[in-house]
Symmetry: D2
Subunit: 329 residues, 4 copies
């Protein structure tokens, strides 16, 4: 029987705990938070889960197989490092770490010690994102030309990180998952309007080795909530709108064909417009699938879909984007 500990019972921690608790493997659980109010609240909700306010109890527990870390970003690295050194598999909430260096070290530690490192890029387990991945991999869209993504709404401003570190991890993890590659260049443009030094709007350009490009727009200042991603392929185009209650994914049989000239002369273009299909999406909570993936990878030794390497790729893009934003300011 697997034994796992959850550190950090603020916003995300309880959701991860709930899904571990409900997982049908019957994982033995321990929960931990240094804040006694939070800990008490969770103890009354889960009287049968053991608990501690000292994370060292988890690190030193030789029966513990895995640690789920849902604390502030700044503590991801030290906690995960300590756990890996103690021989525990680690799941770390997004973003994986606060810098490229930290993320690289964690990935390397996991690899060297044969331990699973996984990051909580939940969107990689959500039905519409997986459906889009299947469609892309099937070749239905042809070559991917470019992807645009908008993630904007009013609030909530963070006080320590830019809107890029807050919102772009979602888009970056989706884009890299779909493309199957990391970008070769990342540039951002934006500004801080409400709080000095905390950019609240950013436009990020990405170039991929395959020749595809991406544009990600993130903002805490917007009249309406947008969660809209467009994937333009050489054969078809796909729109993923997460604010739609039903038709989250639409595949457009649209494109432009270049007709080779018979004789010497100009190329002709024809624009093609066909059916629009909104595929049925499976139901299921992404977090349940995410926790299931973590436990399966521990058991089988396989690499998680949102592995530490994926977490590192996202952190790398975040750091590059943020740096170019600061430079431009």
């Amino acid at each position: 029987m697997l034994k796992a500990g959850v550190i950090g019972l603020g916003y995300w921690g309880p959701n991860l705990l709930r899904n571990l608790y409900a997982n049908n493997r019957n994982v033995a659980l321990v929960m931990c938070d240094s804040n006694p109010v939070r800990l008490e609240k969770m103890k009354s909700r889960y009287p049968d889960i053991s608990s501690t306010s000292n994370y060292k109890d988890l690190i030193n527990d030789s029966d513990l197989d895995a640690l789920v870390i849902a604390t502030d970003v700044s503590s991801h690295y030290p906690l995960a490092k300590e756990a890996l050194l103690a021989g525990k598999h680690v799941f770390v909430e997004k973003p994986f770490a606060a810098s490229i260096g930290q993320a690289e070290e964690l990935v390397e530690l996991g690899r060297k010690n044969g331990l699973v490192t996984m990051v909580g890029h939940t969107f990689m387990f959500s039905p519409p994102v997986i459906k889009a991945k299947e469609i892309i991999d099937s070749g239905e869209l042809g070559d991917i030309h470019f992807i645009t993504s908008s993630r904007v709404n009013l609030g909530l401003h963070q006080k320590d990180v830019s809107v890029i570190w807050d919102l772009a991890p979602h888009d970056f993890s989706m884009l890299f998952y779909w493309m199957g590659e990391e970008p070769c260049s990342v540039n951002a443009f934006g500004h801080a309007y409400v709080l000095d030094g905390i950019p609240d709007v950013a436009f990020i350009n990405l170039a991929f080795p395959s020749g595809a490009i991406g544009n990600v727009q993130v903002s805490w200042l917007s009249p309406s909530k947008l969660r809209r991603t467009v994937i333009v392929g050489s054969r078809k185009m796909l729109v993923y709108d997460d604010t739609e209650p039903i038709e989250k994914i639409k595949v457009y049989d649209k494109g432009v064909d270049v007709i080779e000239p018979e004789t010497f002369g100009e190329y002709q273009l024809t624009y093609r417009t066909g059916d629009i299909l909104s595929p049925k999406l499976p139901t299921g909570e992404p977090l349940a699938a995410e926790m299931e993936e973590f436990l399966t990878c521990i058991e089988t030794g396989s690499i998680p879909r949102s592995s530490g390497e994926e977490g590192l790729a996202v952190v790398r893009a975040l750091e590059l984007a943020d740096a170019s934003l600061m430079k431009a300011e």
Copy 2:
């Protein structure tokens, strides 16, 4: 009685001619196209308008007060220059000229000779754009933080200019009109997917002296048509969606307020969400207003809303955007 000539009877020329013809000043008109088929077609539609296939006849006509130029971009500059040197007021279709140098020379010629130079940025005469300008100028939105604009659809690829020169003149002319200023920096990112060397998707970043920024997205490759502009102000936000049949403009009473801390401590933010108003828009054809403006300015000597200076500002931004795009390629 004013006398005006229209050169170029391809796509836009006939629309301009129709509105000059319908203008209740009873302007004396001459039309000109070197293509005999086009000219014949227009002669059968307007048997009472005199015509010529040689533009020199217009230049040399000492009774002619003004020239309306709706030819290919490459001929805007030589025709307008010749007309200005012959003492005629000129209206030039957008984009004003093919380079910054050409545009500067035309503006300078007009200024020196006391002649009107005007450019056909039609959106500056469309009811929703004017309504947005009124709302901005009234101070209702507060300070303008940033503006995003998307102008994408499937087709039509141009074979000689990038998607920036084709579509961005609309967005640039609107943005500069609303902001009342030219950008101090322009950068673009994009790619050519269908035709080598002809970028068909671009993301353009603009910074304004006032501190506002802009992001313009243009593309000939898109699953659906978008004509959506968002203006985020410090007090309210405005959305202009030109694909909406009725509610083209919506004003959102939304914003974030920073509350000064009473004692030493952190700033608090409160997010404000109020009514949404879609104002009634006046009807009226933008082209009719545009031609009316040209004729009025000739009569009164006032400067047109879309003056040569505006045309120059747009050309300047186009050239900068295109250059940075080519560099990035």
Copy 3:
């Protein structure tokens, strides 16, 4: 070579004339309106089409094969009757006639004399309506359970007929075409709010012999324009929204299945939700197809899709609906 006359050059007549003129059969045409202003306007537009202000000239023209009648409803019957008696095929604008008796007589006259009678139910020639018919006939929707249709907007009040006679012919002709049957009962409920005695809102219930039912909502008083028809079948459901620029037809793979109980007990229901498909629609002007159908039926003797019988069925439903509305008032 066929020879056809068009009577009535008000709103619809010129459209019909334009499509007859453009038909590649090269039909010989005569046009007629007792109003000299209208006639002159059309003569200047079509100088090569002969004309007359006296409709008798058309009736008495022994070379004339067919008459297209686009006059006021009250004159549909006398004109069509005279034409049929003179041995001419007739096309009559919708509604076919002002009463059931009139419509029956015209149909009977056509049948007896071997002449085509056709009515201008244009929607029966529009691509989305035809696509819906094909989908229904393919059996994809299963049995048709019910159809709802909304046709509402602000204005334009008629001064002589109820909103039912003005708007419901469109819905009735579509419904009867799709169902392949006439309703066995028609009832309406509504009221006259703006002009005494002229109902401006009505809700019409229809029952069909097959067991299907229909509900049609028509109004000149509505905050927004609705043109939305829903077809609920036993296997799938279809939505036809004519205000959508692109996705006018959507087919929902949705339904409820009744599972037979294994042992004595309650039936179980399962709700099925699958893909949503918006099929590509062919382009093409419905009026061109309508005129083509009329000419083809004259040449081949086949029965038009929107035959006089269809026109009679619609008039029958209109008269029943209007009568029950008046009774309820």
Copy 4:
């Protein structure tokens, strides 16, 4: 301190209990369900609330002031009657009772004994419905001409009552609340497609004494969920779309004005189209407001917004609608 009991801990009961529990009056509570599983589940959630499996314990509890009944419709009447006879105020879930006779008796019993009778028409406490009521009562819409309401989606079929008894209570309670009057006639048309004898689609026509009319469309068979109500007034029009995440209410400054002819002649109509306003709606859970209203009325003796009389009016319309539906079948 008030003491209240909740009978029926199935679907709605726990919601009512939760809101009574959270009410800041600190009401003493007892909960009751004859189903031991349900009771145990609630006892573990609310260990400090006393409980019983025998409702007689509540009836016989002389300290108990009020009973909240959330059982099956068939037991509303006997339970409420027993409670009223025992001198307790009653809150009954919708629909108030299973027949007009039952509802009348309960209302009469409450009135005679000076006890509050209230029904759970929750929509009467929801922010958009209250906002619409305020707008109507302010006179902004002018006279109400007609109201249409659609409440359709796929499932869930009831096995004992028609779709009218299942869904129309919501629309009826809203309409009567807005109109401030009961209908003088109610007629329905519909059919049972999936389960014999259980109509799953219905179109209901209502006439009000003021001259207004209503049309309510309810169905368990629909490709998409609609919750759309349109109120057409003589001055303005209002749309309430409960499926909209933000703009649930829109007020259209639209209408038609009849211009009196100066001389003898025809009336002229002018159509007016102005601003569209989506007012900010207050937040707040309708059920909390509903329970607060019940407790306040007990304390003050005032009549609840959704009084037993309102419940009776709705039951009356339901019974009439259902009867006419059965007759038409």
